[in-house]
C-alpha cells in the first residue's frame, strides 16, 4: 500500500509541475497577475509531492520491502542501514527520483529567494524550471518507475553492487546531482531574460550566486568521485577521462566559464549574449551528461544496464529544452546590447580569454567523448579514444589559461597600463621560475620540461593569488578586501594547488607490483615494506583476507597498513580495499592482489607525491566559491530598479514583449 502512495505523489508532482510550467509563462505573456502568482505555490507543492515520493522509496528500502522491484534489485536484508539509505540512488530509477528531488529543491529555493525580483521575471524563471521538472518527472513515471511492483515479492534482495558499498556512495551522487541540476537555475534565468527581452546588471547579480552555488556542489561532487575512484577501484589513478567523468566535467568547465562571464556582465553590463549562451550550454551539457550516463550508450562503472527507449526519451528532452532555448536565443539575442567597451589590456580581455580557452577545452573533450559514439552509431567500427588525447588537448588551452589567470586577477577593469601590471607581477614571475626549476631537482633529483611548465603554471597561480591578500594584511591603511574578492583569491589559490598536485603526482609517482611471501621485505621509493602476514576478518556482509604491511623509512617505523580482499556474501564479487598511509606531502597506497600459489601474493604499492593537493585544491576552490556566493551584495534585497536613462538600457527595454 505504501509504495502506491509514492506512485500517487509522483503523479501529483507531474501535474503540479505542468501547472508550474504553463500558468506562469502564459500569465507573463498575457499580463495576468493571478496566473503568475501561481508559480510559487505550484513550485512548493511540487517539492512536497516529490519529497513524499522520495521518502516513501527510502522507507521501502529501510523496511526491506522486496515486493518493490527496484528495492529487490538493489538492496538486501543484510545491507548496513547507511547503504540502504544510499541504495535509493544505487540504480537508474531511484537516481532519477533523486535528480527530480534536487531540481524541486532548487526550484523551491529560487521560488522563495526571488521575492525581490519583478513578478513577470520570477514567474518566467519558475515556469522554465517547471518545464524541466515536468520533463524529468514524466520520464521517471513513464520509463523508469521506481515503484513498480514485483509480485509475488522476493524473499530477499539481490543486494547493492559491492563497488557501491562505500561511505563515498552516501555523499558523491547527491552532491554531484545538486551541482548538475543546479545549472538549471542559471539556464532558467537566461531563458527568462530572453523572454523578457531585458538583461541588465541586476539580472547578472541575481544569477551569479545561484550559478556559483551549483558550481560549488559540482566541484565537490567531482572531487569526491575522483577521490572515491582513487582509493576504491584499487588502481591508484585519480582521473581516467572515462566518458562519464567527462560528462560531469564538461558542465563544470562551462559553469566555470559562466561564472567569469557573469562577473563581467554584472560589473560592466557587457558580454550579455555570450553569458546567456554559456548558461544554455552549461545546462545542455548537464542534460547531455544525464543522457550519456543513463541511456546505457556508454560502457562505464556508472552505466546501469537499461533499455534504449529511455535513451530516446532523454534525447527528446534534450532536444526540446536545449533546442527550444537556442531557437529563442537566435531570435532574441540581438536585443541584448552592450553598455560599454574596454581596452585590449584590461580585466575584461583576460576574462574573455578565460572564456574562450575554457570553451575550447570543453569542445575538445566533448569531441573526444562523442566521436566513438558517433562512429559506432554510423556502423563505422568500435573505437575508444585513449587518455593521451585528452591529456594533450586539455593541457594545451589550460596552460595559457593559468598564465592569463595571474595577469587577469591583477588587472583593472576597462583599462590597465601594461607597465603597471609588469611591475606588480615581475617578482612573482621570477620566484615562480626559480621554484619550478629548483623544487623537483631538490626533492626528487630529476626534472623534465613538462614538469617545469606544469609546476610553473601551478606556482604562478598560487603566488599571484596569495600576493594581494597578504600585502593588504600587512598594510593597515589598505582598503579591506570584500568577501567576494576573498572568494576569488581563495578559489584561484585552489586552482594553483590543484595544478601543483596534479603535476607532481603525474611526474614522480612510482608504481610497483610484486609477488611477495609472508615475512618478505622490499623497497619502493625509499620506503621499506614488510609483508607481515595474512588474516581472515569478517564484516557485516562480507568476509575478507586482510594483509598486514609495515612501512619503514631509514629503519624507522612509519605506519602499519591493512589492505583487504573482500568477498561479499550475496553478490559474490571479490573487492579490493586498498590501504593508504596519507600524509599531506605524499600517499603510500597498498593494494592486495591475488594469491599466486606457493604462499605468494601479488601486491601493488604506489608512491604518490603531493597527490592530496589535488583534492585539497578542489576543497579550497569550493570554499572560495562559498565566500563569493555569500557576499554582502547578494544578500541585501535588490532595490526596486528605476528605469535608467542610459541609451543601452532603453534599447533593451524596447525589445521587451
Amino acid at each position: 500500500m505504501i509504495p502506491e502512495i509514492g506512485q500517487f505523489a509522483l503523479v501529483l508532482a507531474v501535474c503540479l509541475s505542468i501547472c508550474q510550467a504553463v500558468f506562469p509563462l502564459a500569465g507573463a505573456a498575457t499580463g495576468r497577475n493571478d496566473w503568475m502568482m501561481l508559480a510559487r505555490s505550484a513550485a512548493t507543492g511540487q517539492f512536497v509531492f516529490v519529497a513524499i515520493a522520495y521518502v516513501v522509496l527510502t522507507y521501502a528500502f529501510l523496511n526491506d520491502d522486496f515486493s518493490v522491484l527496484f528495492v529487490a534489485n538493489h538492496s538486501n536484508s543484510q545491507l548496513p542501514v547507511a547503504y540502504k539509505f544510499a541504495a535509493v540512488w544505487g540504480g537508474h530509477e531511484g537516481s532519477l527520483l533523486l535528480w527530480s528531488l534536487m531540481l524541486a529543491l532548487w526550484t523551491l529555493a529560487v521560488a522563495h529567494g526571488s521575492r525581490s525580483q519583478p513578478l513577470e521575471f520570477s514567474s518566467r524563471v519558475l515556469g522554465v524550471l517547471g518545464i524541466v521538472s515536468a520533463g524529468v518527472l514524466l520520464f521517471t513515471l513513464l520509463t523508469s518507475n521506481p515503484f513498480d511492483r514485483l509480485l509475488p515479492g522476493a524473499i530477499d534482495g539481490a543486494d547493492l553492487n559491492p563497488l557501491l558499498q562505500d561511505p563515498a556512495m552516501v555523499a558523491h551522487p547527491p552532491m554531484l546531482y545538486v551541482g548538475y541540476v543546479g545549472l538549471a537555475v542559471p539556464f532558467a534565468f537566461a531563458v527568462a531574460a530572453l523572454l523578457t527581452g531585458k538583461l541588465d546588471k541586476n539580472w547578472a547579480r541575481w544569477t551569479r550566486p545561484w550559478t556559483i552555488g551549483a558550481w560549488i556542489f559540482l566541484t565537490g561532487g567531482i572531487a569526491l568521485g575522483s577521490w572515491w575512484a582513487y582509493y576504491e577501484l584499487g588502481w591508484g589513478g585519480w582521473w581516467f577521462w572515462d566518458p562519464v567523468e567527462n560528462a560531469s566535467f564538461m558542465p563544470w568547465l562551462m559553469a566555470t566559464a559562466l561564472i567569469h562571464s557573469l562577473a563581467v556582465t554584472e560589473r560592466r553590463g557587457i558580454f550579455k549574449s555570450w553569458t546567456v549562451l554559456l548558461a544554455i550550454a552549461a545546462f545542455s551539457l548537464s542534460l547531455l551528461g544525464t543522457f550519456l550516463v543513463r541511456s546505457g550508450v556508454l560502457i562505464s562503472v556508472h552505466a546501469f544496464a537499461s533499455d534504449p527507449t529511455r535513451g530516446l526519451f532523454i534525447l527528446m528532452l534534450l532536444l526540446v529544452i536545449s533546442g527550444g532555448a537556442l531557437v529563442l536565443y537566435a531570435f532574441r539575442a540581438g536585443n541584448l546590447e552592450s553598455e560599454g567597451g574596454f581596452k585590449l589590456v584590461s580585466r575584461e580581455s583576460f576574462l574573455l580569454a578565460n572564456n574562450i580557452l575554457l570553451v575550447v577545452a570543453t569542445i575538445a573533450v566533448l569531441f573526444g567523448t562523442l566521436y566513438p559514439l558517433f562512429l559506432d552509431a554510423m556502423g563505422l567500427g568500435q573505437i575508444s579514444v585513449g587518455p593521451p588525447y585528452f591529456n594533450m588537448i586539455f593541457l594545451l588551452p589550460m596552460l595559457p589559461l593559468a598564465l592569463l589567470l595571474g595577469l587577469g586577477m591583477h588587472s583593472a577593469w576597462q583599462k590597465m597600463v601594461p607597465g603597471a601590471l609588469f611591475s606588480r607581477l615581475r617578482w612573482i614571475g621570477i620566484a615562480t621560475l626559480v621554484v619550478a626549476i629548483a623544487y623537483p631537482l631538490v626533492s626528487f633529483g630529476s626534472t623534465s620540461v613538462l614538469t617545469i611548465i606544469g609546476l610553473a603554471a601551478g606556482i604562478w597561480v598560487t603566488l599571484s593569488s596569495l600576493i594581494e591578500p597578504i600585502s593588504r594584511w600587512f598594510n593597515s591603511r589598505a582598503v579591506r578586501l570584500t568577501r567576494a574578492q576573498w572568494g576569488m583569491f581563495i578559489a584561484h589559490l585552489g586552482v594553483g594547488m590543484f595544478i601543483v598536485g596534479a603535476t607532481v603526482t603525474s611526474a614522480f609517482n612510482i608504481e610497483s607490483e610484486e609477488a611477495v611471501r609472508s615475512g618478505e621485505r622490499w623497497e619502493v621509493a625509499g620506503y621499506e615494506i614488510e609483508f607481515r602476514g595474512l588474516s581472515q576478518v569478517e564484516g557485516p556482509n562480507f568476509m575478507a583476507d586482510e594483509g598486514e604491511f609495515e612501512l619503514r623509512r631509514d629503519g624507522e617505523f612509519v605506519a602499519t597498513l591493512r589492505p583487504q580482499q573482500r568477498q561479499y556474501l550475496v553478490q559474490t564479487n571479490p573487492m579490493t580495499e586498498a590501504a593508504i598511509d596519507d600524509r599531506w606531502y605524499r600517499h603510500i597506497f597498498v593494494a592486495l592482489g591475488d594469491p599466486l600459489g606457493d604462499g605468494a601474493w601479488s601486491v601493488r604499492v604506489q608512491y604518490k607525491p603531493m597527490i592530496s593537493f589535488i583534492w585539497w585544491g578542489c576543497i579550497v576552490m569550493a570554499l572560495g566559491g562559498l565566500l563569493a556566493a555569500t557576499d554582502q551584495r547578494y544578500r541585501e534585497p535588490v532595490k526596486q530598479r528605476k528605469e535608467r536613462k542610459s541609451p543601452g538600457n532603453a534599447a533593451v527595454a524596447q525589445g521587451s514583449t
Binding site: 560502457i299 573526444g368 588525447y389 588537448i393 610484486e514 571479490p574 573487492m575
Partner: protein, 145 residues
Amino acid sequence: MKRRQQRMLFIGVVCAGMIASAAFLFKALNENLLYYYSPTQVAAGEAPVDRQFRLGGLVAEGSLQQATGAVQINFLVTDNVHSIPVEHYKIPPDLFQEGKGVVVHGTMNADGLFVADNLVAKHDENYMSPEVAESLAEAEARAGN
C-alpha cells in the same frame, strides 16, 4: 583601418584559428584511437600487428593460468568460435573471472600472442559490455552459416 576592414580581419583570424585547431584536434584524435576487434576478426588477420588495439570476448573456461610466484597470468579470450592467447603482467581487476566478459588493451606480437597492458572487466556480475555481446552474437551467426 576602417571598421569594416577591422571586422573582416578579426573574422579571418578567428576562422584560421578554428581551422588550425580542428586540424590539430583530428590529428591528436587519430593518433590515440584504439580500435576494437573480436577474436574471430583477429584470427582472420584483420587486426593490426604494430599498433595497439582492444580485444574483447569471454575469458575461456579453464584457460586462466596463474604463473607460480610471479605477477603474470595467461588466458584465452574467446567468442566461442576462435580463441586468442593473452598474457598480462599486472594484477587483474576484481571482476576478472573465467567465463566472464573482458576487454583487453595491448598489442599482438609476432607469435600470435596478445600482450595486454590493461584489462577491463565489468563492474557488475551480470552486465556484459555491448561490444562483447555483439561480437559473441556475430561469431555465433558466422559459425551457423
